[in-house]
Amino acid sequence: METLVAKKETTATKQTQTINGSQAVLEAFVAEGVDTIFGYPGGAIMPIYDALYDYHDKLKHILVRHEQGGIHAGQGYARASGKVGVVFGTSGPGATNLVTGLADAMIDSTPLVCITGQVFAHLLGTDAFQEIDVINITTPVTKWNYQVTDATEIPAVLAKAFYIARTGRPGPVLIDITKNAQLQQFEYDGYTPCTHIRSYRPKPIVRKEYVAEAAELINKAERPFIIFGQGVILGKAEKEFKAFIEKAGIPAAWTVMGLSALETDHPLNVGMLGMHGNYGPNVLTNECDVLIAIGMRFDDRVTGRLDKYAKQAKVVHLDIDPSEIDKNVKATVGVWGDCKETLPLLTKLVEAKQHTAWLNKFKEYMDEEVTEVIHDELNPTTEVMTMGEVIRNLNELTQGNAIIVTDVGQHQMVACRYAKFNQSKSNITSGGLGTMGFGLPAAIGAKFGAPDRQVITIIGDGGFQMTLQELGTIMQNEVDVKILILNNQFLGMVRQWQQLFMDKRYSFVDIASPDYVTLAKAYGIEGQRVSQREILNDALSTMLHHKGSYLLEVMVGKENNVFPMVPQGCSVSEIRLK
């Protein structure tokens, strides 16, 4: 590996050139391999946009319709590509509009570098036009943030930003640059990527004794159970993960964020964890003897009631973030490290086994779930369509090869439960924050992040109305995104809770929709509305084969519920099938 020292020598011989802070930002992007920026201009970021004018051959800029759309697009891009998403916003409202996306990226560990413009340094703290204290506003929702007031800082700060965003447990970084720094001319001597920050340890040296301890527990286990999260995807450790579970022969269930790290049809993939997860994985969490958690953080939506969660089991927890180990669930053995490194070490030490009887237990629970829930959800006899049957039809057409971007709510849970995935980085959703309005802009970003893949966004009628302005972005940039609206004319998830836990007091969940097909037409997007089962498959096929973006609205049952369900405050073994 080339050392930084060596790089410095080469840059020392390089001639310096006079550029301004804005150009330095874009030079950093080019050096970091950025190809797409999602943004919205404004007064305080104009010098950067001025510089961008000359970089159009190297950097693609996608003009969004709202900064929230911009940052969600950046997230979608990052999640589909595995690269750092880059977002521009101006000062003041431009910056505050980014906050939801930052919080979403923070909780879902999405690598982002956001650049916001800021008023001139001499105006800081004077309540200048469009001045906001963006650093303090975004401190709790960024992995790191920094305000630049002097252009000479820009190359090093940007290098640090990209390094922090993508290494360790990834996350969003925000760099606020005052207008004077954007305009300031300085002697630029090239870009040096950051490879080390003394106060920041992205990953540790793997302690092999802990891996050995974990292996010993696993080898002694009779009913071992793996639960995995997005860490497998973020660590680019899908292969290592598969090798591990196949050798150890251990059933594996996923969190919503871990979905697609392991293909859905894999014989050891036993399904989804958590509130609307599968029956077996939830019930058997409380019957396994060793629970192996990989790159997941025991979110409350996964664990249900903590004091009744896997109390009988010894817990092995592999995570790159040491603050996650013992945070919610006490680990018997915590293995701190990058799972790309820890998993192969563990694979080497575990015995090749098949836990046939134990795996069959999952199958038995799955059979019961199919009889009680899944069969009717996917093949309903009711007149109205179900969300599940739409996903089943979609699976038949995509064969699990598409990227599915969901919004938040019932459709999200149904899509996660039933959508098929053959490859990683294919499920993009707002997991931790549960941000309605995430779907449409994230799908736009996903298409830029994975241009060769089919991108389908599944959205409810509520979430779509939160960020539908991004149809303008799709129109202007001719983005090929298939929009599938599952319309139940309700804010369905809240309605479901009101039905089940609040005596059907439907308080403000009845939501009206505009004519989405006409709306799409206004943006030059073809569309169709379907309320009959007979034409559903054809309509989906038309959508998928359509050249360019397409909107398909499917009318589904108004008061359908998502089951199984672990009611809030209940243990995972108290999961309800109806």
């Binding site: 590996m1 401190t139 700060v157 490879t195 080390h196 003394r198 106060s199 920041y200 040491p322 603050s323």
Partner: protein, 196 residues
């Protein structure tokens, strides 16, 4: 386990905004900070926060990990009162006339280890340092004589078992194990890189 006093010692880079980043770790969890002191450490450029809270050990342990996770934090330790030596400084302003007439200043100074910092015609300022109970004691003694003003500093504490931060810092300055050692530009050129 009950709530008890914990002293959290945080070693950080000396950067703007870090105080807020650390403070929000507490406020977000609705934990009141009893005392907070920021100061330099024995290492140049390394800042030291001393934070006192009253909490369960379990909470403090998780909190320390969350603090340590922050990019510009090098290390966060937490200790019970048994494990540290600590002091707080207090200043007391009293009317010179009052105490000259009514108290034996000498006894007061001897008994409480107080020191007169300023003596003016109109007022005198005493100083003591020690644990809270000790500084509070003098407040009680002076109260009958019209204590005009009282102020107490945050806790500063030294961890009994600590060998200082020098060795630890050298470790942090090393690159990731397994990779070749790289020069740390942020350490070497810190002032030029991060000056506002």
């Amino acid at each position: 386990m009950n709530k008890q006093e914990f002293t959290i010692t945080v070693y950080t880079e000396n950067h703007i905004g870090l105080l807020v980043r650390i403070a929000t770790m507490f406020s977000r969890r609705k934990i009141n900070i009893e005392s907070l002191n920021t100061s330099p450490s024995e290492e140049e450029g390394i800042h030291r926060f001393t934070i006192v809270i009253n909490e369960f050990e379990e909470v403090v342990r998780k909190l320390a990990r969350q603090i340590e996770k922050q990019v510009e934090v090098l290390k966060a330790y937490y200790n019970t009162n048994d494990e540290i030596v600590w002091q707080e400084l207090a200043l007391y302003k009293v009317s010179t006339d009052e105490i000259a007439e009514k108290v034996t200043v000498e006894r007061l100074l001897r008994e409480h280890g107080a020191r007169a910092v300023v003596i003016r015609k109109d007022y005198t300022i005493f100083e003591t340092s020690g644990h809270r109970e000790e500084t509070d004691k003098l407040v009680n003694v002076l109260a009958p004589y019209g204590l005009i003003e009282f102020v107490r500093s945050a806790r500063v504490a030294i961890i009994k078992a600590s060998h200082g931060f020098h060795e630890k810092l050298r470790e942090f300055e090393e690159a990731m194990p397994g990779e070749e050692q790289v020069e740390n530009e942020f350490l070497d050129k810190q002032d030029s890189v991060f000056t506002m």
